[in-house]
């Protein structure tokens, strides 16, 4: 081809293009390789905030927020950010929301979380008393719960043909069953069925639970391990029953009354997602104001009305009633506003030693086939 672009011209063009791309990357880097523009950088799980909250927070406080829904899994978040946190870098976030056990890891084992600014916590008194002193953060210096949930059994009654009330009944279900890929939820629920104390867990105490699970997987009584993709499968009938999280099921139960959630008779688990400020955060004060704002019962009620998990804030039930409409109906939903009886049936999975966590993670991985 003589009328096309000559090789020399092509190479010159390619070099120019490369230089241009490099310069653009460099310019982008000047604005902050982490995408920071001086605003408060918040990371959270998907669909875990009401749509108007960020705008209202900005209006009330004058703090600009970049809100990113990029947390999908505690382990994945940890694997992605550990290298930067370990060398005391900034992960590009001032605020993250993570489970109790990983909050424990960041606060107590690794010292990768920084305390909240006490002077900016004006609504902290609204925290439910039951959540004020968790093992992973006594006195709540580093963390405040974002939302609280329960782990129990969900089942589709049109498939099971009967109610499921215990872990044994779950394992005897005639149909496809799934348990959670989160080790503490699955093993914890079976530990409660075996009579073990989950508030002081250990590999030895979990032994009977592991044996039960291993037998059930070998016999085909447990068919799958799932993240929260069990939700769709339960609704469509691909799963008869599954270990499940209350908030997920609260939402499908309203569309499909055949899907039900129970705390097993032997007891369920309660957990919270914790707001944390990671080490290296540029705006710890603003991050403290962010979580504090959600401890105003009015803002908390709007959050609950949308995400339908249990709120850690006192006075939310009254505010939900005041909001009226579908939000007011949530007051009577024990999965959103749990009764004292229900709360008496659940316990929080305690802290594992590093060795026990290693042992149990490895054994659980073998159970899942990985």
């Amino acid at each position: 081809m003589t009328d096309g672009v000559s090789r020399r011209r092509f190479l010159a063009g390619a070099v120019a293009l490369g230089a241009g791309v490099g310069a653009a990357a460099l310019l982008a880097g000047c604005g902050g390789a982490d995408g920071s523009d001086g605003s408060l950088q918040v990371s959270n799980w998907t669909s875990y905030i009401d749509p108007g909250a960020v705008r209202r927070f900005e209006r009330d406080t004058g703090i600009r927020v970049t809100y990113t829904e990029d947390i999908n899994d505690n382990n994945e978040w940890f694997a992605k950010n550990r290298a930067v946190l370990a060398r005391r870098g900034w992960i590009g976030r001032d605020s993250v929301v993570l489970d109790d056990w990983i909050a424990n890891r960041l606060i107590n084992r690794l010292d990768w979380a920084v305390p909240m600014r006490a002077d900016r916590l004006t609504n902290r008194a609204n925290l439910l008393a039951e959540l004020a002193d968790p093992p992973h953060d006594p006195g709540r210096r580093y963390s405040l719960p974002w939302q609280v949930g329960l782990t129990g059994i969900a089942y589709n009654r049109s498939i099971t043909g009967r109610d499921v009330r215990t872990v044994d009944e779950f394992l005897a279900v005639d149909g496809t069953t799934a348990v959670l890929t989160e080790m503490r939820d699955t093993v914890g629920l079976v530990m409660r069925a075996s009579g073990a104390d989950v508030t002081r867990p250990s590999a030895a105490a979990a032994e009977p639970a592991f044996e039960t699970l291993e037998r059930a997987v070998a016999d085909g009584r447990i068919d799958a391990f799932t993240g929260n993709d069990y939700v769709n499968d339960l609704a469509t009938g691909n799963l008869a029953a599954a270990f499940a999280w209350s908030g997920d099921v609260a939402q499908i139960t309203r569309d499909n009354p055949d899907v039900r959630f129970v705390v097993p008779e032997s007891g369920g688990l309660i957990w919270s997602d914790n707001h944390l400020i990671p080490r290296g955060a540029r705006r710890p004060g603003a991050a403290t104001e962010w979580i504090d704002w959600f401890y105003d019962p009015v803002n908390a009620a709007r959050l609950t009305a949308y995400v339908q998990y249990i709120s850690p804030v006192q006075g939310v039930a009254d505010e939900l009633a005041r909001l009226g409409g579908p939000a007011a109906r949530l007051v009577d939903d024990p999965l959103v506003v749990p009764t004292p009886d229900l709360l008496a049936e659940v316990a929080a999975f305690g802290i594992l030693t590093e060795d026990d966590a290693d042992t149990m993670d490895a054994r659980f991985a073998a159970l899942t086939g990985a």
Binding site: F78, D223, D233, G237, D358, T368
Partner: protein, 292 residues
Amino acid sequence: MSGSVERDAQGRRRARWTPWLLLAPGVLWLFWFFYLPLYSLLRMSLSTKPSRFAVPEFSWAWSNYQQAFSDYGSQFTRSFTYALAATLLALLIAYPVAYVIAFRGGRYRNILLGLVVVPFFTNFLIRTLAWKTILGDQGGVVSLLRTVGLLDANEVLLRTPIAVIGGLTYNFLPFMVLPIYVSLEKIDPKLLDAARDLYSNTWRGFRKVVLPLSLPGVFAGSLLVFIPAAGDFVNAYYLGNAKTTMIGNVVQDQFLVQNNYPVAAALSFVFIAIVMVIVAVYSRLLGTEDLT
């Protein structure tokens, strides 16, 4: 001395370093994005970590390889068995499709090729999740198979090896269709005319002319399907169960859940080594001379 300056046929000066300069971008690219990461992976695979969250330290820890073989042999076997099955199935489906498009497509050739590729504009994950609905216990496929008696009332498709292999086949199918199409499309139709002139029937013409000439496409296609399928973990995760996990699932769990980078790196290295041996043997059998 004029001998130090080389000149080409047109009498232009030729610098000795020019070939090296032209090679430099490729070599640098290979070094930074292939050899260096590979070295880093090898080093990690021979490391140990003092505690779960400590940075692994290099220590010639061959025990990681021992663990990779002893604990995860079944996942390796499964990965390569499933990948082989998916490759064969993809070949069985892709060859007739590519043949029809190349020889019978006529003016619809581009549209037909587009139809092969268009579904793959959708995200890989979404396509895999769609199969969960299609193969679901309450879905149409299962009820049809139950009606015709191919499945018992208690038998399902989802969370079985069939679903995983099916997912792998579907997800990597275009990588088989396109290379085979390219090699078939290059075949000069006059060769088939010549075969007919020599009293060859259609089948014989296909066997003696078309098939040998399309082998480079088959070779490229089967590698393009086999290698990513063997390392895949998404299909086994969403369409399989605890007894259908592949080596990709183990690597993912070791990296992300157990934070055991050395064992994960050793598993990856073993995987690379096995794939290289398979590719070497395969290329010996099928030949690669005509790949370009």
